[in-house]
Subunit: 196 residues, 2 copies
């Protein structure tokens, strides 16, 4: 892989574990397998690496939530909806890259306005818009009771986001957290889906 990408990769790993200020350029270089001054052939400085990583986070966001395609077709039953939702959650929760971006953003969200905005987009807007569309579509098909799809999407996703964040900081509780998520989703369906 190109060195520039390797640097970003290792920087993201280290930033997500120890934070930006807790990570030295020497550490990054060592993980990449080069010496610290060589980093400066690829980036102007440490902050330049940070900004490139924010670009990465934004690109990942666009890739994941920007297009409609990854939505797939709408679920046709409660079981399909629950399974699809759980699959997405487990993927998001476990995928190493996504996990690192999440931990990185949560720690650096106060550093500047851009990081704050990207964090909100990742943590709230993306998932919420996506589920607003899914629930809206399923309402039209009569699978959900008539209500404001945006409010319902928020009810569904808020708790999931919060529990995933907990799993990030207490991975030893992952099993119980996954169960909590499943319980929450089932309860959500009990309340808002029509009986079939």
């Amino acid at each position: 892989m190109a060195t520039r990408d390797r640097i970003l990769e290792e920087a993201l790993s280290l930033f997500s574990e120890n934070g930006y200020d807790g990570t030295g350029v020497e550490q990054i270089a060592e993980k990449v397998g080069i010496k610290a001054p060589s980093l400066y052939k690829h980036f102007k400085g440490k902050e330049d690496i940070l900004n490139a990583l924010i670009d990465t986070a934004e690109a990942r966001y666009e890739e994941y939530f920007g297009s409609e395609q990854h939505l797939g077709r709408l679920p046709e039953s409660r079981e399909e909806f629950v399974r699809g939702t759980m699959d997405r959650i487990l993927f998001t929760m476990c995928d190493p890259m996504i996990r690192k971006i999440r931990k990185f953003l949560v720690q650096e969200q106060f550093r500047n306005d851009r990081l704050a905005a990207v964090t909100t987009r990742h943590q709230l807007e993306g998932v919420q818009k996506m589920y607003t569309r899914i629930i809206e579509g399923m309402m039209e098909k009569g699978l959900f009771i008539k209500d404001d799809p945006e409010l319902l999407a928020n009810e569904l996703t808020a708790q999931v986001v919060l529990l995933i964040a907990q799993a990030d900081r207490q991975p030893q509780l992952e099993r119980e957290i996954t169960q909590s998520i499943e319980r929450h989703i089932c309860h959500f369906c009990d309340v808002y889906m029509t009986i079939q």
Copy 2:
């Protein structure tokens, strides 16, 4: 105020703004109005200040969620419930000390297991347990429909916690966020409260 407490006060302010690694002992000392080496008359080192702050965070938690008294009496109507809940939220959102603890914890949650546990207690367990009891009591009075009070409490609080976190990083959006919270609470009441 005793210097030791002043140090903790200013350290919390700085840590909540710039993070632990982003804050120098010299900065803390300057805010307190002493020179950096004088800090060491009160604390063994920088990490000792951090640990004392975690103690503070735990103490605040106990003070706020440990006793039953701050619950007050149970709301007797939907209006009372909404008003009480909004008051609590606005207080939590705006109180400077609580805000600082929240921002501090969110940034340092990955530093060690103790910080991770304290963050979960502040962010999840405290509010959830509190609202589980409130909703449980109101269910017995017939104000809420019969359901699992813990699940309902989680539905209610998760989104609030998430939106408060957003207000912490994007304070310029506070007005809209407050409105989102209110809309969420009203919807929650629409769905789960009995008609009176």
